[in-house]
Symmetry: D2
């Protein structure tokens, strides 16, 4: 609904040192697909339950098979637990993910959870009937109430199904799309962002992909590649002070990491967020979920732990760039009560990046 603007790398930014994959997206991890369903309806005064609607749902599907039968190795990590993500305890205990990951607005978690159950039952009609166990839906969320009628819980099961049906590999729509439709970051319009990194062949050549739902950060703390862009921009085009926000980080890799190793990698997404200016504010629900698409023999690890440093750096860089991509691609959005979140003023940002020696490097 909202046209995406160019990504950071298209405009010449080079964050970090590792090369991205072909799409610089989480879908560079083979088999991973992403689907969005965007809801934009109405404008003007908030009438709870009726609109205006600026929200949606985004799904990340680890592989094209029957995920309940062929679970993937997965871990979760809570950076700051002010959030309502579901399913993480079982992911941690069993080390597996058995549903797509769905992202949406905070108050919609219950309905999306229920929709995931319906979706899974559709292809696995024996779920919950002994000896087959139940299913563990993983849902992440951020608060889009500044632009969206969040109380209305406008994401319905059919929207989740639609997002799942249209999930695909390749380039990933970013910005004000899917779950990101109504989100804000650093006082600007935020939303969906993604990036990837490819490890050196000497380190195994694996791919690490990250997708974020970015809805966090205070304007004056924004940093892009180390440049204090937030302070430099000042208050121009700032809406009312952003609440504490939240961020969901989804990390995928094709490497055969054990849960312990994968959790070590996943924890480094914290460092990536910190590079953009995050202090993991008190009211910010910062959650990370990671999975490996490498299947077939249960959990097993890389024998050389030192190789993980490459994964760490990849996780840091891909997380940083995914957040910056969300900011670059999301345009200005007007929401409920005429609330406006301005898109990051990219022209001026590029001037700052130039002035501070970050372009053409």
């Amino acid at each position: 609904m909202y046209p995406a603007r160019p990504r950071a790398r298209e405009l010449g930014l080079r964050l970090g040192s590792l090369p991205p994959g072909p799409h610089n997206a989480i879908t560079d991890v083979a088999g991973v697909r992403v689907g969005h369903l965007t809801l934009v309806e109405g404008e003007g005064a908030l009438r709870p339950g009726r609109g205006p609607v600026r929200t949606g749902v985004t799904v990340i599907v680890p592989h094209p098979g029957n995920l309940f039968r062929e679970k993937v190795i997965a871990v979760a990590y809570v950076i700051n637990g002010f959030g309502k993500a579901t399913g993480l305890a079982q992911v941690e205990e069993m080390g597996t993910l058995e549903t797509p990951i769905a992202l949406t607005n905070t108050l919609n978690v219950g309905i999306v959870w229920d929709a995931l159950v319906s979706w899974m039952l559709d292809t696995n009609p024996d779920i919950g009937i002994a000896p087959v166990g139940t299913v563990n839906p993983v849902v992440g969320e951020c608060n889009d109430g500044f632009l969206n009628d969040i109380q209305g819980r406008h994401v319905r099961p059919e929207h989740v199904f639609a997002a799942l049906r249209q999930a695909r590999g390749g380039p990933v729509p970013e910005g004000a799309v899917g779950a990101g439709t109504g989100m804000s970051a650093f006082g600007f319009k935020g939303g969906i962002g993604t990036a990837s990194r490819v490890l050196p062949q000497a380190a195994g050549g694996a791919t690490v992909g990250v997708l974020v739902l970015a809805n966090f950060g205070r304007r004056d703390q924004l940093r892009i590649d180390g440049v204090p862009v937030g302070r430099l921009l000042g208050d121009r085009e700032a809406g009312p002070d952003h609440q504490d926000g939240s961020v969901i980080v989804v990390l995928a890799t094709d490497a055969p990491l054990s849960c312990r190793q994968l959790r070590r990698v996943l924890r480094r997404t914290t460092h990536g967020l910190a590079r953009t200016g995050s202090i993991a504010a008190s009211g910010s629900g910062d959650f990370a979920i990671g999975f490996s698409t490498c299947r077939g023999q249960g959990e097993r690890g890389l024998p050389d732990e030192a190789i993980l440093n490459h994964f760490f750096l990849a996780a840091v860089e891909a997380t940083e760039e995914a957040v910056i991509n969300a900011l670059f691609t999301a345009p200005t959005v007007v929401g409920r009560d005429g609330n406006v979140r301005y898109g990051l003023p990219v022209e001026r940002v590029l001037q700052f990046m130039q002035r501070y020696g970050r372009m053409g490097g």
Copy 2:
């Protein structure tokens, strides 16, 4: 719907050494109320989505005020994370509970979550509209699919509202009631159980109350006050082998514990479960949630850490007795496909308890 049978203590059992409160229930903690809504419909062959229905919802309400405005100090602890409980990360991070705790069947978590949001919005219409934040529903679950059409997700929002409206203090219905309607434990009928302990005046005289949703345990591992009742009973009246099950433990106290102290207390519910024979089986979602009703000044702790030993013992004993109460009170229930969970054969159990020196002590 299913009449409860006598509780363990009424039949002469004396588990542990500390005295129970007046109702030997979680409601002995002043202000705590419990509500059940029981759903029993149909019989015969399972027709997913239609029944038979043997399920329900149970709510635990920490105090009669506006919980969103007057949150209570709370903590969570995952004994074994194979489960879908929601809201625990935020409870851990912020140390507060801001909704009633709802218990239900596994696949119904999403709908019950959504119903809690509606319930909270009803009295707090500003939730999610800045500067007011969103709300964190806490839902626990076990799998009642052996007796119930679990895929049908028969607990609807109106059932949750009804349970909340009829929540009350005093004696708590136990056994095959509310969320416990379709649950099994140690190969027998399980469900809701509760118990409490009062600390010595010299230790402050606080009350510790526990309520469990008991749906765990293999028959041959059942122990009652140390007597290996499961082995002694053998296979008589056993249904097909029980799946790994789950248990949710809710602990309440009126003492001013800090989150750190309350979590220390809460972890001891593990020891209470172990006394009944639990090994926290791999597929058992064993979750504990604790709260303190002592309000008004934020988090603060008991200055004397050694006093916690009294709380530890109270938590162990009340958890043990709550599980045993669930077994004693729940009658035989026939569910979907004619599946039968027999009530614990209390007469024979009492004979064993007599023979092994546990009665009239």
Copy 3:
């Protein structure tokens, strides 16, 4: 120095349902060796720094090779953190153990830690010289100050070396030996105990062995196979009230578990302790360390998670029996200031076990 008395199983007790290994000891896990060095000197009034001495050191060596070069998969779990065990953070992070585990008295941890460094340097003279990293000594402890001049820190490096040199497989000396020399449990003499369990062939036939340094528990809480022996014995032969104590649990297995799986197993030692009456008292440092001797290909896991239930039960039962063995084997010891810890009155205990139907089962 103190002759061990018969073990529980030799006297007819049958704890749990799984069969023990040939020695019913942690050494049933192939390659695991145990060494003790016992220090008993002087009697009469405590003269800090001079004695009387009732202490020692116990070492558990995972395999006969160069452990620094061939690390074993390992995890740690803190049941109650009032203790000074060292090395656990690195075990958790890296998932490996690279030194023998040493157990001793609380104030001796520093010296024993340093001795382990010296021991490791002896066979690995490149430790700490780049590119070789440093080494992570794992030391566990309990407080033996009721009987021992604990301030004297009488365990010296040469004692640690002696224990390491005489470490061996086969039957393990128990009771008032090595680190257990001065320990108390449930108001009686405690110390070293061990036990093992062999899994069914259908579950892979692995061995789980446990060794405990038992120094915890209040007399009235002692339970043996569910019989409330502590209450039945009353105060006869009780010394002054036991402090909160501590317990260190070391678990070994030969199965190829991932760190995640091994930690799941290790956590169940809590349930084993609970069966003996533990409430993990506030001042009790209850730590568990687990390792797998299965080497050669880094971390990898059992593909079938459900098989873990067998390991869980084995961990529960072996832990329970190890504690009971410590109590059965440890004789009465007179220590500093004439303090006496009586050995468990085994004759009377056996009468209770008989009366309560636990013998000849």
Copy 4:
């Protein structure tokens, strides 16, 4: 022994936005004292056990009273657990610190631990003699083996006592001093650094102080106030590739935070490290310890959780500046085998900072 060079702020750098305290040091938290003992002996070829010696010990003393009797509220947080810090489990469980914190080289942990016991016994001769419990020494470490004869464990008890005796408030010596004598960071000479932040009066006006033992980071990842100084400097004056290193962060505040709140603050030191370029490398033992000097009534918390955001920002900024101070103040040091760690080329760095718009802001 090695003269410190000017601190970052003295040279015009302004990291972050909150104002520092009077000394811009952890000692700005009233009552906190720091003591160093520096050992520099010999040069030339490494002769293990004999030298050359480039090491030491640093102690942080929370208040001038009897710390064992008047413990302070404390927490610990493991950022990356490849390290040998001791005492953290008890700090976490009990929420208190009862000894000074000592920092030293990795292999010296045992001896320093033992020295802390002796020191504590000296003023508390009843430690370990019932009913008085034992004591929990907290020791942190990094590996200084590139410059120092680390196998020699040259820090002896008398060195620890000397550091404790000369601990004082006010300005804190930084750089190649105490435990920092032989440390490296980002391929340059590292060591001790400190900084502080004062919160706005509207947020309570508390002080947050940080001291780091900085021994981590790869040169090309170094960032100072966002400027990629490491890349810009290139390989000039680089020694051999730095090993993964480690960092210990000690955080102090005078605010009455509960353990839960203090841990939330402490976790944000991760973000501060990330700002300097840390990715928490696999072999880097990154540990944080925090305490509150606010005593007298046990654990209690700030009633307004949102105020914590100020503490979060303070923790991030003070950690970042403490690391940069370590780099700025530490001069070039020549150690064993003629190994050289060059001091950060401050002149050139300042030119970069100027060129990238970070000076005179």
